[in-house]
Each structure stands twice: as structure tokens, then as C-alpha cells.
Amino acid sequence: MAKRLKVANPARCIGCYSCMRACARTWYNTISLKNSRINIQTKGGIETPYAQIVCHACVDPPCMRACPIGALTKRKGGGVNFNREICDGCGKCVEACLMGAIHLDVENKAVICKHCGVCTKFCPHDVLEMIEVEDSGEVKVTDTGPVSPTESHKELYGKKEAEEGESGKEKAEEGESGKEEAEEENEKKKAERGSGKKEAEEVK
């Protein structure tokens, strides 16, 4: 089953930047905000709600179409896979994405969300979530719960008990180690997750 990152509850964001730090820490091995693939923005200082700018996993990605050399290819579950080796920093994808979800790093390589889900584990306020989608990237419509398949929304509709929600989330995390991903990546995720699962049970 394909998964993607979703900004499920934007209004719950407290602007802590934990997600950005997690992303840069995991994928760029740095302590920074700059190379995070998710961007938490203010639109009028912290008096106004935060905006979470990140790839929203287009079903038919314009960034991919804009790339003249095929560095971006369609990802299972929406969005794109990025081939850093061949990216030559033309910046056409940056322009094509109206979300503003792409920027270039210091070597002029695109910085694009790969929907790994690491950031969701560092979001203290249920803003970010991994959701299940069709391989095409289309939202799945199920017969239970709301159409929007986010864990935290099920609660709003009163369809699910709290524990069920928890285990659902756990599964979401597990499912993340997608088999088609390369070895190193798996290890990386496992390491990042560490004893995450055990702790998830202890919370609350």
C-alpha cells in the first residue's frame, strides 16, 4: 500500500520547527532548517497561524513535467522520486510547483520531500501524518470513517476509539519501511525510528 505525507491539521501547528529539524537531521546530516524538505512559515509573524509548506504528492506532478532531463519521476503514492546525480540545478521544478515545496540546496540540487514520514514522528501536535493512498496517489475512499483518511480526523467523526487510533498510527510507521526502497535507506529509517514503536505505546 502506498503512503504519503499529509499536513492533516495545519491549524494545530505551534511553530516548533521539530519537523524541519528532523528532516534536515535525517537526510542532510546537519543541524539546520535550511535543507529541510518541509518548510514552516509565518505569514505575519507568530501572531498569525503557521503555514506548512511541503510536497502534497501530486497525482500528476507538474514538477516532473517541467524537469527537462528526467531527474524527477513519478512516485508510487503521488509526488516524485528524485535523481540527485543527474539534477543540474536549472530550477524549472521550483517554478512549476505552486506549493513552493521545492528549493535548491547549496550545490544547486533540488530539495524535495520523499514522503518518508520521519517528520511526523517529531511533530508534537498531530499536524503531520502519513496516510494511505492508492498507488496512483489518489485518495482512498473507504466505507468507514471520513473520506479524508487521516487518523486524527477519525476521532473528530467519532468513528474510532483512541486505542485503535494509536495502533493505526503504529502500523503507519511500520509500513513506512517500504520494500522497494534501497537498503541504506531502510537502515536509516530504522535507526531514526529506534525504539519508537515501543515508546508510542507508553505515551498517554
Binding site: Y28, N29, T30, L33, E107, K109, P124, E185, E192
Partner: protein, 594 residues
């Protein structure tokens, strides 16, 4: 499909420790960035570094508002690196009591300074006309701020600078309001709207330098020499903060939880500390605010707690159902100062009063105490409405207090000008010193819990409620008999610990997370080795040097005043006798070797 590995770029990474000090000279609008690794290696950062810089810079006899008097802002090696390391310390000479001024603010400032690569800023000199300074990485500009001088609200200053400067979302904008411009001695510096350098009058120092604002942003990268260890350590701290109960209080009701707690304990100063419990506590409680006014919570950059509680006040302004809405952040100290201590039990009125202070840019605790003192002066007929320009001040009368706040800032006559100089100055001039509730020349925060609190506020180097363990010692003593000596020992131990934490500019709300053990590991994971003994020594050394500075600035134990009111009103742990406090002060001094 390509397997994407962890990316390593050719970018030059900043070293994990701190490097630079940015020196700003307001007089000739020049600056320099100096490598001061020597200082950071010895004293880590934050208050440790700031104290040593102050000793370097201070020229004997310089007054708080003299141009040569430096202001030092400093962050620590953990800033921008670990969760809840969000503070910046400001060191200056306080225009309120002439002593060492030390104040801490959160917001985005620490992270912005860190990623800009100027981890400490020293500001000297004074400009002839208003300036603001913009720092984006190593680009520094002095810009004419005449057009934003005289704006009536600190909030508007932020809005304007946001539009003319880059760095949205990654920057910090610190600025003063009318109170700082006009030299109210307890003016604050507003940091990113909801946080402040509140206590001891940094705003007036900015005003004297004609420094309206500083905007700072940066996007440098830091890399740990041992990234795996860093990641592990980050996760450990993050989980302790988010998933254990250690910081529950701050992300649930926030500090305002204390309103009912202290009221119950009979330690909540009420009506200028004529009492310690307030019959209106229920309606100004954290619970009541959360249920009725809280709309969102916000974090300082890099903290997953979100302790900044923002309330929405819907205020009608015509009979035709027209409303304006204001978003106002509230905290315990503010509710005490403008609520119980002024006898205001209407939560909307408390919010309005907070908003007025926020916009004008004054320290709310000091303002609340000054107004409470003035109210009692009127009631005791020691002054009349002649002094107050016809304004009657009565407990609970929020409209009068709203007007009074403006009058204090505008200072249209001698009396209001005196109020703007603090409760010590005003009571020396007009009388009522017995009930001018200050310690060491600083209006007291919202606790009257007993000996520990009074000792802590008197001896604590910045007279601040968070820099000493006075209130928690009293709470302990309330639950279980403790000798005065035990209370003193606890204060000393905690003083040292907090002095060390302040060199790392950790938010003290997370003090139970950042134990010595965790601090040592956190530092090690970014390549800085310190032993527990070294950290303890750093705490003691910093405290000693602060006392050195205090003495240079004119502090003496002999001149300490203890207003009678503290001995007339029963505290949480009962009535206090002056003799007992004096004896305890002596003992503290002896143990400290001061």
C-alpha cells in the same frame, strides 16, 4: 528508481561550538565580527560569556543610560541544536535599580542568532537619531528608524519591519515601544510579539541608544562531528520533553496554572500584597482562561512544548454588533500583576490591561506593582487626585488602570514621571515605602510564599523568580518542616545549577530535563567535553562574577531594604519576622563567602 542516500554537500559547516561576537557601535554605525572562541571555550556561552564580556567592557562609573554602557545579548552552544534551548540572555546595567540587569527572552531570537553565526552581540554607543539594525548572516546594516519611532504599538513595529526585511519565518525582530523611547525605567524589549526581555528596563537602554529594533536571521548550517550520537541524544531529549510528564504543566494550562495553586496556598499577592488570596481567583485562573479565551498555543523556535498561550478577546465597539478581536498572550505573572494585585477579577479586563502594556512595551510585573502602590497611596490619602490628574484608582477598576498605564508612559506631570521610575523612586518621593513591594529595587513577582522566596529574590543575582528556587523551597517547607538552613542550602544548590543552565541558555521550564547528566551527554554529542565538576565550577564562577559586577554597580548588603508589608501579610508558610529574614540573609552570605 534511485536510492537516495544521505546527502553531503560541499558547504562549509559552522563548527558545533560557538565562535563569534558581533560588536555594534551605534555612535558611528560601525560593526565588527570578532572570533572569540577563547571565551566560548571557557564559559560555554549565555550568561557565562556575557558576564565576562561585561567585565571586559564596563568602564568604572558608566551609568545605565550612558552611551558607553554596553548591552550584551548571548546564546549558548545548544541553541538551535536541541529542543527547548531557546533563550537569549541580555546583560546590561539596569536603569531601574542601577544594578546588574539580566533578562531572558525566548521567541525566535536564539535560533536566529545561532544560524546567523553571531552567537553573541555587544551593543555600544548611542545614535543621534533612531536606528534599527538588520543582521542577515554576516551582513549588517544600520537603518534609519525615524519613521517608526513614535509608533504607538510594538506590534506595528514588527509588522512594518517584516515587510521591509527578508528572512520570513527564520528571523527574529526585537523592538521597543513608546515606553522604551520615553525612558520608562522598566520598559521592556518585545521579542517576536509574544516574548520579552521584560525585567529591569532593557527597553529604556535601547531607547537611550536610539535603538528601535534589531532584526536578525541566518541560514548557516551546523554539523556535529558525531552525527549519530547527536541524533540519538536529540531523540532522547525530545522524548523526555514530549512524552513524559516532566513538562506537562507548561503544555497544558501553562504558567497560569499557578493562579489557583498559589491562591490555595495563600501565596498569591493580592491588592498590593494586603492579602495572599483573591476572591476573584476563579475567574482569572488558568483553567478559566483556557476554557473561555485560549485559541492557540505557540512555541519558541525549536521547542516542542508550545507554552505561549494566546487568548482571543472579542471586544464590542458599537451597539450595532461591531467587534474587534485581539490576540493576547497571557502568563501567570501577568495575571497576578494586573489581576489579583490590582483586585481585577474580570478576565477580559486583565487581557485588555495586558494588551495595553504589550503595545506600549513595559514590564508588566513592575507596572502592576507601581499601580497597586499608587492605588493604596490614594486610599490612604497620602496623595490626592491632584497628583493623578483627576484619576481615581480603585481596586478592580480596569478602565482607570488602562488610562493610568498610558499616563505613566506619557508622563504629563511629576507624579506620573515618578511612577515611570519605579516603585522605589516614587515611594521615596511621595511616601508609602512600607508598602512599596519591591526587593532590591525590583517590583516583586507573584509569590508571597515565605522565607525562601524573599531570600531568593533578595540574593538571587537578577532578583528573578525563575533564577532562584525560593518559591519551590517554600512549597517544600510547607509540606514538610524544613529548617532555615536547609532552605538556604537548597537555594544555593539551585542557584549554581541555574547559573550553569543559563550559560547554555536552556529554557528554565526544562530544567528538570537538562540534568547534569543530560547536559554532559548533549554537549559531548556535538563535540564539547565537560565534566560535571567543570559545569558546577562554571555555575559558581559565573555567580561570583555577577556579584563582582553587582558590587561595581553599587550593590551592598548593608543597603538592602525589606519593606514592612512583607512582614504584615501572612505568607504560605505563615507570618515572617524581619529578624529571621535578616539572620537567614547573613547565613546565606556566610555560606557563599560574599
Amino acid at each position: 528508481m534511485t536510492a537516495e542516500k544521505v546527502i553531503t554537500t560541499t558547504e562549509k559547516y559552522a563548527i558545533p561550538g560557538l565562535t563569534n561576537v558581533l560588536y555594534l557601535d551605534m555612535t558611528d554605525r560601525s560593526y565588527s565580527i570578532v572570533d572569540r572562541r577563547d571565551l566560548y571555550e571557557k564559559y560555554l556561552g549565555g550568561s557565562g560569556v556575557a558576564v565576562n564580556l561585561m567585565l571586559e567592557e564596563y568602564k568604572e562609573g558608566t551609568g545605565p543610560l550612558d552611551p558607553e554602557m554596553p548591552v550584551i545579548l548571548s546564546t549558548g552552544p545548544l541553541s538551535g541544536v536541541y529542543p527547548t534551548c531557546t533563550k537569549t540572555v541580555a546583560l546590561f546595567r539596569s536603569p531601574l535599580n542601577g544594578e546588574l540587569g539580566e533578562s531572558y527572552a525566548g521567541g525566535h531570537l536564539a535560533m536566529s542568532m545561532r544560524f546567523a553565526g553571531c552567537e553573541t552581540i555587544v551593543i555600544k554607543g548611542a545614535s543621534k537619531y533612531p536606528l534599527y539594525v538588520s543582521v542577515h548572516n554576516d551582513k549588517v546594516r544600520f537603518r534609519d528608524a525615524s519613521s517608526i519611532w513614535n509608533l504607538s504599538s510594538t506590534i506595528d513595529v514588527g509588522k512594518i519591519i517584516r515587510d521591509v526585511e527578508p528572512g520570513a519565518g527564520r528571523r527574529s525582530i526585537i523592538r521597543i515601544g513608546p515606553a522604551g523611547e520615553k525612558g520608562v525605567k522598566y520598559a521592556s524589549v518585545n521579542v517576536d510579539t509574544y516574548r520579552h526581555f521584560g525585567r529591569l528596563g532593557l527597553g529604556a537602554v535601547f531607547g537611550a541608544k536610539k535603538l528601535k529594533a534589531i532584526v536578525i536571521s541566518g541560514d548557516q548550517e551546523i554539523r556535529s562531528p558525531d552525527h549519530t550520537a547527536y541524533k540519538k541524544q536529540y531523540k532522547k531529549l525530545y522524548d523526555t520533553i514530549v512524552k513524559t510528564g516532566l513538562m506537562e504543566k507548561y503544555h497544558n494550562l501553562g504558567t497560569s496554572e499557578n493562579v489557583l495553586v498559589l491562591n490555595e496556598l495563600r501565596g498569591l499577592p493580592t491588592r498590593n500584597l494586603q492579602g495572599t488570596s483573591f476572591e476573584g481567583a476563579e475567574t482569572i485562573s488558568g483553567e478559566h482562561f483556557a476554557d473561555n479565551y485560549l485559541i492557540r498555543r505557540v512555541s519558541c523556535a525549536g521547542c516542542p512544548i508550545g507554552c505561549i498561550h494566546v487568548a482571543m478577546l472579542k471586544r464590542p465597539f458599537s451597539k450595532a454588533h461591531e467587534y474587534e478581536t485581539l490576540n493576547i498572550s497571557y502568563d501567570f505573572e501577568l495575571i497576578y500583576a494586573l489581576g489579583s494585585n490590582l483586585g481585577v477579577e474580570d478576565p477580559k479586563a486583565v487581557l485588555e490591561l495586558i494588551d495595553a502594556c504589550e503595545k506600549t512595551g513595559v514590564d508588566i510585573i513592575s507596572m502592576g506593582v507601581v499601580l497597586a502602590w499608587a492605588t493604596e497611596m490614594l486610599q490612604k490619602k497620602k496623595i490626592s487626585t491632584e497628583e493623578t490628574l483627576g484619576l481615581e484608582l480603585n481596586w478592580g477598576d480596569a478602565a482607570a488602570y488602562l488610562r493610568a498605564i498610558e499616563l505613566v508612559v506619557r508622563a504629563p506631570n511629576e507624579f506620573y514621571a515618578a511612577l515611570g521610575k519605579g516603585v522605589v523612586y516614587a515611594s521615596k518621593k511621595y511616601g508609602g515605602e512600607e508598602f512599596a513591594i519591591h526587593l532590591g529595587g525590583l517590583e516583586i513577582p507573584g509569590y508571597h510564599t515565605g522565607l525562601g522566596n524573599i531570600l531568593g529574590l533578595t540574593m538571587g543575582v537578577r532578583h528573578s523568580h525563575l533564577d532562584n528556587a525560593g518559591y519551590s523551597a517554600d512549597q517544600k517547607a510547607f509540606n514538610k518542616e524544613m529548617s532555615d538552613e536547609e532552605i538556604i542550602d537548597m537555594l544555593i544548590k539551585e542557584d549554581d545549577l541555574r547559573c550553569m543552565l543559563n550559560s547554555l541558555t536552556i529554557c528554565l521550564f526544562a530544567r528538570n530535563v537538562y540534568t547534569y547528566e543530560n547536559v554532559i551527554e548533549a554537549l559531548a554529542a556535538i563535540g564539547i567535553r565537560k565534566t560535571e565538576e567543570e559545569l558546577k565550577e562554571l555555575g559558581r564562577d559565573t555567580l561570583k562574577k555577577k556579584y563582582e559586577l553587582k558590587k561595581k554597580f553599587g550593590f551592598s548588603f548593608e543597603n538592602l531594604a525589606l519593606p514592612k508589608r512583607f512582614f504584615e501579610t501572612a505568607s504560605t508558610t505563615g507570618m515572617l519576622e524581619e529578624e529571621r529574614v535578616k539572620k537567614a540573609l547573613e547565613l546565606y552570605r556566610k555560606k557563599r563567602g560574599l
